[in-house]
Symmetry: C2
Subunit: 141 residues, 2 copies
DNA sequence: AAATAAATGAGAATTATTCTCATTTACTGT
DNA sequence: ACAGTAAATGAGAATAATTCTCATTTATTT
């Protein structure tokens, strides 16, 4: 049976190599956003640092990886395998933990209405949006 | 007559020095978010690079400067002199320009309701939020 | 105006990311 | 399965961004 990570690579016409599989496996297991630091230390003995950066760029190129910066300036990375998994992020300002949040449909509708209005008054054509929620997780609260 | 920038420093018990005044003047003139690169090149001959970083940290400490990262990984900086100037940002993915956007009161209310709901279901106590709108400015569209 | 404390400039040190190149690994056609 | 070719990797050098060091200058206090 073909592993999940190998299928992902094959589906995107990217050759299957050990580093790519290792990185994908960690991202898949983690299920959600992960700090670059954490990813690096998890993969330290299996993937060279330069290769990790290359693999992450490969995954960005095939559009299955999002990268963003936390309010504390940590690089954070997250798989996004399907087009329709629109969601946002909550950050803990104390421990740096990041998690996904999905907003209610009602609210996403209100948001897209607001964006339509902005489009009328501003000189921008808006393609995407990201909402970041910043606070404390229960451990740090 | 005391200059605006000097008053700001005095009001926050920060000593008035040339580099601090120069940085503040550029930020005040610019009125809105500015790229660190742009700030650096504007101040190149007046403020040493290390001092610029120090001054920006000083301003962060007294809570009159926001720093964030654009979707293209540019560091962006912005004065926020009053508590009640809550607003968000639009980014042009092509030229990197950033501008402020103020959302309608109706929408900010909807957003804060949504955050209240999230608080009920998630393990986070949310203190702040930032909404980033990403698209193309009229020049690049 | 002198004494003391704080801030600055210049460049060294550190950290994050990209690049180079010799070696290894994966894919292609047989 | 196998040789040949193209692509990917590891290790460390190169670059870029940010912080740190320390001798000198500037601000504040007396």
């Amino acid at each position: 049976m073909v592993k999940n990570s190998e299928k992902i690579l094959a589906d995107h016409n990217v050759s299957i190599t050990n580093p790519r599989v290792f990185v994908l496996e960690v991202l898949l297991e983690n299920k959600g956003p992960i700090t670059l630091d954490e990813l690096q230390s998890t993969l330290k003995n299996r993937v060279a640092k330069s290769t990790l950066y290359r693999v992450l760029n490969d995954l960005k190129k095939i559009n299955i990886l999002n990268e963003f910066t936390s309010p504390e300036n940590q690089t954070v990375v997250e798989l996004s395998l399907s087009e329709n998994d629109h969601h946002h992020h909550v950050f803990c300002t104390n421990c740096g933990e990041v998690e996904d949040v999905t907003l209610s449909e009602v609210f996403e509708k209100q948001l897209s209405d607001e964006i339509t209005n902005i489009h009328k008054t501003s000189k921008y054509r808006i393609k995407e949006h990201t909402l970041e929620l910043i606070g404390l997780c229960s451990d740090c609260d």
